[in-house]
């Protein structure tokens, strides 16, 4: 993996998304376009008390690296940054920050979208939500997560068109 181009950080403590964005911008000051995404813990109107995230140190970083490599192979990116929280978080706390820099906006937007879809279901993280009532549940990927990821399959658009046509 191109360590100059890709930065991956797993953090046990809260990270500051503005600081991440400012740092990323300094890294690629001459890029024409920077797209960023921030994911935060959903409060679900007070129903969620906390979210615990676990990972597999070593494998998680390696798999995120592979995902970032795929993005770099697919779009002409100048830099990619991924920061991901683990540990126990409260609603409103940042979970994930993704940034991509390119000469033009489209590759930057698409790469961030792709990276998020793959981080959801191809990076070794596990989430457990504790409700305000004390109940706890493991969060499994939803059907829409795999549908989102399927959009990036090589011939997804033609398959989708075929499926629609067959109906």
């Amino acid at each position: 993996m191109d360590a100059e181009k890709v930065s991956i950080r797993i953090s046990w403590t809260p990270f500051d998304p503005e600081a991440e964005a400012a740092h990323f911008r300094r890294r690629c000051a001459r890029a024409g376009a920077i797209a960023t995404f921030l994911g935060q813990v959903r409060g679900e109107n007070g129903a969620v008390a906390s979210l615990a995230l676990e990972h597999y140190p070593g494998l998680t970083e390696a798999e995120i690296g592979r995902i970032a490599e795929q993005a770099c192979a697919r779009w002409p990116l100048e830099a990619v940054a991924i920061a991901h929280r683990v540990g126990v978080m409260a609603p409103g706390e940042p979970i994930v920050f993704v940034a991509a820099a390119a000469a033009h906006r489209r590759p930057a937007f698409e790469a961030v979208d792709f990276l998020m879809d793959y981080l959801k279901s191809e990076a070794p993280f596990w989430k457990k939500e504790t409700g305000a009532d004390g109940s706890a549940r493991w969060i499994e990927p939803r059907a829409e997560d795999s549908r989102d990821k399927a959009r990036w399959a090589p011939d997804a658009s033609s398959q989708g068109a075929q499926r629609a046509w067959r109906k």
Partner: protein
């Protein structure tokens, strides 16, 4: 040789441990055989570990269940990922 076995996400609650140090017998030569040995008659553990959605990593590389286990130091059982 001793193998460190890791159980992630909901699997550690099913198994009752996040990790175990084990010394399996010689016939345990694939992750599939390891599941049989770990389950040892506990149908609940057997079903949880052998669910098709569970991924297996041997020494930090994701592998198929019938891949060789010879020389492995660490085996991980991973339920569906949920990052982002």
């Amino acid at each position: 040789m001793a193998i460190r076995v890791l159980f992630f996400g909901r699997l550690h609650e099913v198994v009752g441990a996040r990790e175990r140090e084990i010394e399996p017998p010689d016939w345990v030569d694939t992750p599939a055989a390891l599941i049989d040995w770990l389950a040892a008659g506990d149908a609940r553990i057997g079903a949880a570990l052998s669910a098709p959605s569970v991924r297996v990593a041997v020494d930090q590389a994701i592998v198929e269940r019938d891949s060789p286990l010879a020389g492995a130091r660490e085996v991980a059982f991973m339920p569906p990922f949920s990052g982002g």
